[in-house]
Amino acid sequence: MAQRTPIESGVPDNKPYMHPTMLKNYGNWRYHDRPRPGVLHHVSHSGDEIWTVRAGTQRQMDVYTIRKLCDIGDTFADGHVRFTIRSNIEFMVADEKKVAPLIEALSSNGFPVGGTGNSVSMIAHTQGWLHCDIPGTDASGAVKALMDDLYEEFIKEDMPNRVHLSTSCCEINCGGQADIAIIVQHTKPPKINHDLVANACERPAVVARCPVAAIRPALVNGKPSLEIDEKKCMCCGACYPPCPPMQINDPEYTKLAIWVGGKNSNARSKPTFMKMVASGIPNNPPRWPEVSAIVKKILYTYKEDARSWERVSDWVERIGWPRFFEKCDLPFTKYLIDDWRGSRASLNASTHIRF
């Protein structure tokens, strides 16, 4: 049978999908305000206006959910939607009168309207047990459990500034930098199935993958395999994707860690990387209550203590790390002092100390 040659069309043109008011005022917007949480109101230099209603989704959507959102878009909006980077859906309307019925339709169908301004937006997340080949935990479930708890913070704008959350099912951190991030932290070296290494793994590539040079080729039981210097290994799991017989995931010893203070925006301070502040948290499906408790403790301490427009990183910068740990009731352990390359830059080279 003849094979169909693909049409290498790449990135499709977005113009046919764009709301006509957006198309007409492309590059000519003047300002925006937020009439209420979940609604953006943009005004063009031409005088045209557009209202955007933002709603949370579960990201992994079944076709029935997608069709329901399309029904709402056709009946209550203008048939044009877009998605945000955090998997929220946005409906655009050119008539203010359509806003209230649209919100009602979304809410009554179970889609929370919010995620704008100083809210806690939807958690950027990864695939987890549903689809990934190396996951230490699930993503959709932990996100669902946490968003259930943070629902009120999504539909309101009560935070000092916007709050971005992410989750990641391994230390590769596909979920990305965030104000508060939940990331798998393995605590034991991989368990090697020596019978399979020779056939499944390109051994020099695996050796090269290790950040601390803890892996070396070895002959085990007469078979070419790999061995790990367990004193050097810091259990990052980098060897596992290129060599699945080096199983890093463990039902008990794969833990979760919490990181805070990532910020990609250049607003105020330069962008920052997040820092690890808690680890050793059990990987406890289906609702990961221990994770949610720590995230909420940090989040509500920030909400209480930060000044307006401070992101989590700005807040910690102002109050200092010792007070962050004190206020959030988190132990500061030796594992939180960096010893990777460049680590001296993270030490306090000053007498700036708060008493």
């Binding site: 094979q3 169909r4 693909p6 069309s9 790449g10 499709p12 977005n14 046919p16 999908y17 709301h19 590059g27 917007w29 003047r30 300002y31 943009h42 949370g56 989704t57 579960q58 959507m61 079944d62 076709v63 997608i66 399309c70 056709d74 044009h80 939607v81 877009r82 998605f83 945000t84 980077i85 859906i89 179970g110 929370p112 950027a124 047990w129 080949d133 669902k144 459990a145 968003m147 951190n173 990305g176 930098q177 590539a205 090269a208 950040p211 990052c236 699945p244 039902p251 990532g262 990609n264 925006s265 250049n266 607003a267 105020r268 301070s269 990387f273 499906p285 289906p286 427009w309 990777w340």
Partner: protein, 431 residues
């Protein structure tokens, strides 16, 4: 009607609560598809044992070397047969979104129909690289699904050591802070690299991301090898009507504490109107009958904070373009790297400007392809060879905007210093 569903007591607990439940969605699909009945069986097993059960493999479509993420079950009984045979294959198609992730309901309905027919019926909008992820198809259905999506005008994204799918912000289509045509840049750059997207042959992945202003809503500085971040060179614009309206609503405390005190370079001042300076680099705007804001644009770092707080009252300039930052990535292998500046400003207005952006991307990727080690990201390569070697390789002159500080150690052989000064001076005189 599908076969009876497996008991899923743990997943069932994720059906309660106010946030939309993916489990409820999976169950709806499992009403009709044995495929999804068994998928839920495997997922429930993962929840119970706290282990993942997918392994990769090789599945693709005719003509391409990437874009499909193969998944075969490893959850097998003692005889080696899959415990959940109907979901033994669960491949994902990564499909590139339109720039800005705009859709209409008609095209979403068509995607849903295609995926209901050929796949699981589960679609993620969107994955962390920006792909629409059509999750769950059997090997013998992948080609049919792709053909239908391809006929609809969509194409596969990147996977493996390839140029990856990109993302761009809503930008010019709805944001007053947009400094270039993000959609155009996204589409023009990516579509120049289709061969590198579809046929993985680079040392490792390479990601572009496009943000229209320094708020960087696409998180490009931390997670793309080449970040295109909008900015402007001229003075900030002001709108007195909106400035007075803002002040009337928010008052002096907010103006001082939230706007002026938060300027990172203290370049914005509150003054009595009679004292406001004038000059080619000064922007000013009255906020009341007595007071005005004065901004020295020569010391503004375009951080966006005041523009974010007083939207419209303060606004970007009109001489707009982008800063280009190279080398951002997350931890593995050498640790987190931010993208760093290699082009402080690149105008993005004309056809030639956009062609120049594509050309720069091409040079960076060519150099990366030639010089990076296997599984080494661009930022790691630069860390290994030094920024100066990288810049010489792609033919870009150094600029003091590329560093946070000059070097803090003397470990450099500087016997070429005089020649270098002479070269810089000659270049200055020629310009």
């Amino acid at each position: 009607m599908a076969k009876p569903q497996h008991p899923t007591p743990m997943l069932d607990e994720l059906e309660s609560g106010p946030w939309p439940s993916f489990v409820t969605g999976l169950k709806r699909l499992a009403n009709d598809k044995d495929y999804m009945v068994d998928l839920m069986g495997q997922l429930e097993t993962s929840y119970r044992t706290r282990k993942g059960y997918w392994k990769g493999g090789t599945v693709g479509v005719f003509g391409y070397g990437g874009g499909v993420i193969p998944r075969f079950t490893e959850l097998k009984d003692e005889k080696g047969a899959p415990v959940f045979p109907d979901a033994a294959e669960f491949h994902t198609l990564r499909v590139q979104p339109p720039a800005g992730m705009h859709y209409n309901t008609a095209v979403l309905r068509k995607m849903a129909d295609i995926w209901e027919e050929h796949g699981s019926g589960l679609i993620a909008f969107h994955g962390q690289s920006g792909d629409i992820m059509f999750q769950g198809a059997k090997t013998n259905k992948v080609q049919d699904a792709f053909d239908a999506l391809n006929e609809l005008g969509f194409d596969l994204g990147g996977a493996g050591p390839a140029v990856r799918t990109s993302m761009s912000c809503v930008g010019a289509s709805r944001c007053e802070q947009s400094c270039y045509d993000e959609s155009r840049a996204h589409r023009q750059v990516l579509n120049n690299f289709l061969d590198d997207i579809h046929r993985p042959a680079l040392p490792y992945k390479f990601k572009f991301k496009f943000s229209g202003c320094p708020n960087d809503c696409m998180n490009s500085i931390q997670r793309s090898d080449m970040a295109v971040i909008g900015t402007w060179r001229d003075n900030m614009r002001t709108d007195e009507g909106l400035a007075r309206k803002w002040f009337a609503k928010h008052g002096m405390n907010e103006l001082v504490n939230d706007v002026i005190a938060r300027c990172p370079t203290k370049t914005i001042l509150l003054k009595e109107i009679k004292d406001v300076a004038t000059g080619p680099k000064i922007s000013s705007v009255a906020i009341s009958d007595t007071h005005a804001l004065e901004i020295d644009n020569s010391n503004c770092v375009r951080c966006m904070h005041c523009v974010n707080v007083m939207t419209g009252a303060l606004a970007k300039g009109v001489d707009t373009g982008a800063s280009i930052l190279i080398g951002g990535k997350r931890t593995l292998k050498i640790g987190d790297l931010m993208g760093t500046v290699i082009v402080p400003f690149m105008p993005l207005k004309t056809d030639e400007d956009y062609d120049a952006l594509v050309e720069l991307g091409q040079k960076v990727i060519d150099f990366f392809a030639e010089n990076a080690l296997e599984h080494e990201r661009t930022g790691e390569m630069i860390e290994r060879i030094g920024l100066v070697n990288f810049l010489e390789g792609i033919g870009i002159d150094i600029d003091a905007n590329m560093v946070a500080t000059p070097r803090t150690n003397p470990y450099v052989r500087a016997d070429g210093w005089d020649d270098e000064v002479a070269r810089i001076n000659a270049k200055k005189q020629a310009a």
